[in-house]
Amino acid sequence: MKISMFHLMPYRDLPPDFEQRYHSVWVDPPWWELADAERVGQYYNWTLDELVYAARAGLDGMCTNEHHQNAYGFMPSPNLMGAALAKATNGLDVAIVQMGSTLPTTNPPIRVAEEYAMLDCISGGRLVAGMPLGTPMDVNYCYGIPPIEQRERYREAHDLILKAWTSKEIFAWNGRYWQLPMVNPWPRPIQQPHPPVWVPGSGSITTWDFAIDHDYCYCFLSYFGGQWAQGVVDGYWARVQEKGKDLNPYRLGFLQLVAVSETDARAEEEYAPHVEYFYHKCLHVAREFAFPPGHHDWESLLHMARTRGFGALTMNLREMGYRDFVKQGCVIAGSPATVRDQLREVIKRLRVGNLMVLLHIGSMPHQLTLKNIDLFAREVLPHLRDIWDDEGWENHWWPQRLRAPRQPQPAAQ
């Protein structure tokens, strides 16, 4: 079992009535009204400190991702963060999990090949190469790509990056969206033939097929926990079997919000406002931004129209409180024993080998985040590491030199 800490880097001080006053947390939240650059500088530094703290405390990897124009999580360049993390964790057996550079909007896409290779070199071969399609908010609204081109651009960028990493010859790329006369990136990654590839997704069958056909790790990045994910994950594993692949649990990555305290009651006291902040404010995305026409391909669109209708939400987040989120498993929160038991159950039920835990949630302050990381690393993590050991699977989707279990380490203060 590999367990990494994911960080979104949200704005931690939105006003209490944010979701009533503003249209959307993404694309059009007014910076000049809501944000302060000095404070944001502090957040970035806290974010880096929190991830490095998690690495020292014993987590297996540190995950960052790319988003634009929002207060929900704004690392427009995850590789800037990744570079700082790689440097700060040299000597530790910790993966740099970039979840990562958005392929359709990185122009030209060999920039991803180059920056990931830089990170792999700086970190001594510890990179996991996430290859996200990107959200409609980021790709279509913030970066102007026509929705219907997003997947085509993604596939071309992916093919180009892989060829750039692995080709022994300098080549010309005559693509539909990009043309390059002499592709020969410096550097190339340490990991050969290339770093492990993870494909984040939100449940579309097109993305499953892409990940399975290329033998990549598919990561279901949901904020709604193991109960809600069951249908999607069942569909994924069924598809894996249909395509004749093995049921290696490391084929699946899954994101889970986790909050640990001394007791269940204490967890509620400490984390409730931050969990509610996350679901009420950070996920306050205008519906039209999330579903621009053309973003779903024809098959997915028809499937959606037949099964759940257009834009129909299954949960009304604003009317839910901390206890609802905990009860529905969106957040796993409580004492170490509670969190251990529930996480173990979710991991086994969904068959997850590469777990990502969101240990900083919404408005959570720095000190509380460190406490969450510390308790998780000491009281929860050691009990989960061996979950798949009896089945004897190899985690092909983890940097080769980090595949052995990490030795338990005291948390650095």
């Binding site: 279509n140 039209e288 026409p293 053309g294 024809w298």
Partner: protein, 270 residues
């Protein structure tokens, strides 16, 4: 002629683009041929087209990917240039030459591109609330960013007009409804390839090449492409006439059918 086309248009499929596309064209009416380019949400055979079909044989090609064409056909096109040339293939296959051309909204932009590309191929041009130009201080509304339930009030100033009510009527059958909605969203996605994020692919550099008599039709209260754009189109197209329709929004030909249809027919026949 007063032939009724209540049965709706007939469908025609044409192998074009070296056999890579099976273009869908709807045809109705009798009389001399006329080419119609539909709006972003796909072709709907409405009362305005019915009115035109009483005097012309209306040929309405569907944007590849939309309507009755294969949904994946949109991936055969890389750019607006490809779209113009595919429509050139369609015109060739239909042997249309020297015909009047009518386009609405997104289809207005397509029609303007066609007329700029092949000024000799068309006899007259009617552009109804076309997109294609951009004024920074008065931007065109991004209709793809409007929640679907707000679409009608964005499109129409007068929702009560009978032709509008007819257009907005939903199919009763559940499966038909689902398919119609999916096709509408998909059509917006397909046309989005040529207008997202800003519906300006450089038409202003080419519009001067339109050398046929042109009529611009605009609703006074157009909330998608503000009526000021009529002046811009008129400035680029020599001799263009402008009809501004009071009390109408982005679809004046349905909101004020009784006014727009006769004016368009008079222009086309005059």
């Amino acid at each position: 002629m007063t032939e009724s086309v209540a049965a709706g248009p007939r469908g025609l499929f044409l192998e074009v683009w070296q056999g890579r596309l099976r273009a869908s064209v709807k045809v109705a009416g009798q009389g001399p041929p006329l080419l119609y380019c539909h709006a972003a949400a796909g072709l709907r055979w409405d009362d305005f087209l019915d009115g035109l079909a009483r005097h012309f044989t209306v040929y309405a090609p569907e944007l590849p990917g939309t309507g009755d064409s294969d949904p994946h056909d949109i991936y055969q096109l890389d750019s607006l240039w490809d779209l113009v040339l595919v429509l050139g293939d369609v015109l060739d296959a239909l042997k249309l030459q020297g015909v009047p051309l009518v386009g609405h909204s997104f289809g207005g932009m397509v029609a303007a591109e066609l007329a700029a590309h092949w000024p000799e191929r068309f006899s007259k041009l009617v552009l109804i609330a076309p997109v294609g130009l951009w004024r920074e201080e008065r931007p065109v509304t991004n209709w793809m960013a409007v929640p679907i339930e707000q679409m009608p009030s964005l499109m129409f100033r007068d929702l009560s007009a009978p032709a509008v009510q007819k257009l907005l009527a939903l199919p009763q059958d559940q499966e038909e409804l689902v398919l119609a909605q999916a096709k509408l969203v998909w059509a917006l996605g397909c046309s989005g390839k040529f207008v997202w994020p800003i519906p300006d692919r450089g038409l202003h550099k080419r519009l001067h090449r339109v050398r046929v008599p042109t009529l611009l039709v605009w609703g006074r209260d157009d909330a998608v492409v503000p009526v000021e754009y009529a002046q811009d189109f008129a400035a680029y197209i020599q001799g263009a006439r402008t009809l501004v329709v009071e009390g109408a929004g982005h679809v004046p030909q349905l909101e004020r059918l009784d006014q727009v249809l006769p004016a368009v027919l008079e222009f086309l026949r005059g």
